[in-house]
Amino acid sequence: MMALLARDLKLAVRAGGGFGLGLAFFLIVTVLVPFGVGPETALLTRIAPGVLWIGALLACLLSLDRILALDWEDGTLDLLATAPLPMEGIVSVKALAHWITTGLPLVLAAPVLGVLLNLAPGGYLWVLVSLAVGTPALSVIGTFGAALTIGLKRGGLLLSLLVLPLYVPTLIFGAEVARRGAEGLEVATPLLLLGGISFGAMALLPFASAAVLRINLR
C-alpha cells in the first residue's frame, strides 16, 4: 500500500499538469470573486470564509477525474484488482494520494489567499483548521464519484452532477466553522460535526467505492 501511495504521489508530481493545477484554479477563483462582487473591503471580509471554502471545493472537484481515470485507461486498475490488496485499501490509498496532492496544498494556500479577500484576523486559523478537517471528506466522496463514472467516455460533467450534492453537508459545516471563527464566535459544534462527517466518510465510503469499482471492472 505504501508503494502504491508513493507511486501515485510521484506520478502526480512528475507527470505534470495535475499537481499545482488545482492550486492555480483556487487562486484564479479567489481573484475573480472581487471582480464579481466589487472591491468593497467590508463585503469581502464578510464573504471571505465562504468564498475560500467554495474555491477549495471547486478546485478539488476539478481534479477528481484524475484519481482513477489514468489507471483505468492503461489497465493499472485491472492489475491492482488482481493484486493481494483489498479493493477498499486501494481506493483509500487513491483518496489519500488525492488529498496529499490536492487537498493539503489547498489547506496551506487558503490563509494566503485570505489576505487577498481581507479575511478577518481571527479567521485565518479557523479557515485552515476547517479545511484541514473537511478536505479529506471531499477527497473520499470524490473518489466514490470518480469510481462511479470511470467507465464513461465523457464522465466529467456527470461526475460534477453526482458529487456536488454529496458535498453539501461538508460545505455547510466547513463554511460555518470558518465563518464563526472569522466572527469570533464559538466553533466547537460545527467543527465536531464536520469532523464526524469527515471520519464517517473515511470509514464507510471506501466500501461503497470498492463495490462500485468491482462492478465497473467486471
Partner: protein, 249 residues
C-alpha cells in the same frame, strides 16, 4: 399448502411476465381510482372549503403542494427499497421499478417547489427563501437529477442497475445528512413550523379531509405511473433482446 404459499409470496412478482400480467389487471383500477380521488379532492378543496382568514384563497395551494411534497420523499424511499432488493436478490423488475420511479419523483419535487414558490410570493413576499425545508427539497431534486443522469449514461443494463443502486444508498445517507445540516445552517433565520402548514395538527378539519383525498389521489397516481413505466421498461428491454437475437441469427 405449497400453492397457497406460492400465491402469497411477493417474490412471485419478480417474474416480469407475472408482473406484467398482474399489473395489467390492477392498472386500470388504480388509474381510475387515482383520477377519481384527484377530481373529487381537488374540486372539494378548491370550491367547497372556506378561505383561510389570514391567507385568503391562496391556502388552496395546499391541495397540490403537500401531496406532491409527500410523494417526492416517498418516491425516493421506494427507490431506496427497490435498490436494496436489486442488490440483495437481483430481481430485474425491482431495478426497473426504481428507474421508473425516478422521473416521477423528480416531477413531484418540482411540483412541490413550484407550488411552494407560488404560495410563498403572496404569503412571505418572496418566491424563494433559504429556509431549511425549501433548501433540502432543492437538494433532493439535485439527487434525482444525478440518479437519472447516471442511469441514462451507462449502456450496459446490469452495470447501470448496480451503480445506480449504490448511488441511491449513498445518496440517501447524504440526503438525510443534508437535511439536518441545512437545519443547522439556517437555524436563526426561519422557524420551520410557522412557515409550513404540513404539520397536520395545524390544519383544521375542513381542510384536512379534502387534503387526505388529494394525498390518496397522488399516491394512487404515483403507483399507476410506476406500474406503467415499469411495464414500458420491461417491454423495451424485451424488444432490445429480440432485436439482438434477430441480428445474430
Amino acid at each position: 399448502m405449497g400453492r397457497y404459499v406460492r400465491f402469497m409470496s411477493l417474490w412471485e412478482y419478480a417474474n416480469p411476465v407475472k408482473f406484467i400480467r398482474t399489473t395489467d389487471v390492477v392498472l386500470p383500477w388504480v388509474s381510475v381510482l387515482a383520477v377519481l380521488c384527484l377530481v373529487v379532492g381537488l374540486i372539494w378543496g378548491f370550491f367547497f372549503t372556506p378561505e383561510d382568514y389570514r391567507q385568503g384563497s391562496t391556502v388552496k395551494i395546499i391541495y397540490l403542494h403537500v401531496p406532491a411534497a409527500l410523494m417526492a420523499i416517498n418516491a425516493w424511499m421506494m427507490m431506496l427499497v427497490a435498490s436494496l432488493i436489486w442488490i440483495i436478490r437481483r430481481h430485474h423488475v425491482s431495478a426497473l421499478a426504481a428507474r421508473a420511479a425516478a422521473p416521477v419523483g423528480a416531477v413531484m419535487t418540482l411540483i412541490a417547489l413550484a407550488t411552494g414558490a407560488l404560495w410563498g410570493q403572496p404569503m412571505w413576499g418572496t418566491w424563494w427563501a433559504w429556509d431549511p425545508r425549501l433548501t433540502s427539497f432543492l437538494i433532493l431534486f439535485l439527487f434525482y437529477l444525478g440518479y437519472m443522469a447516471l442511469w441514462s449514461a451507462i449502456e450496459d443494463d446490469d452495470t447501470a442497475a448496480d451503480l445506480t443502486s449504490i448511488l441511491c444508498l449513498v445518496g440517501s445517507v447524504f440526503a438525510v445528512l443534508s437535511r439536518y445540516a441545512v437545519n443547522f445552517w439556517n437555524q436563526g433565520l426561519h422557524q420551520g413550523a410557522s412557515l409550513s402548514l404540513d404539520k397536520e395538527e395545524n390544519v383544521a378539519d375542513v381542510f384536512y379531509f379534502p387534503l387526505l383525498v388529494c394525498i390518496a389521489g397522488f399516491v394512487l397516481l404515483f403507483i399507476a405511473l410506476v406500474f406503467l413505466r415499469t411495464q414500458t421498461e420491461i417491454r423495451a428491454r424485451r424488444t432490445r433482446a429480440l432485436i439482438a437475437r434477430e441480428q445474430q441469427g
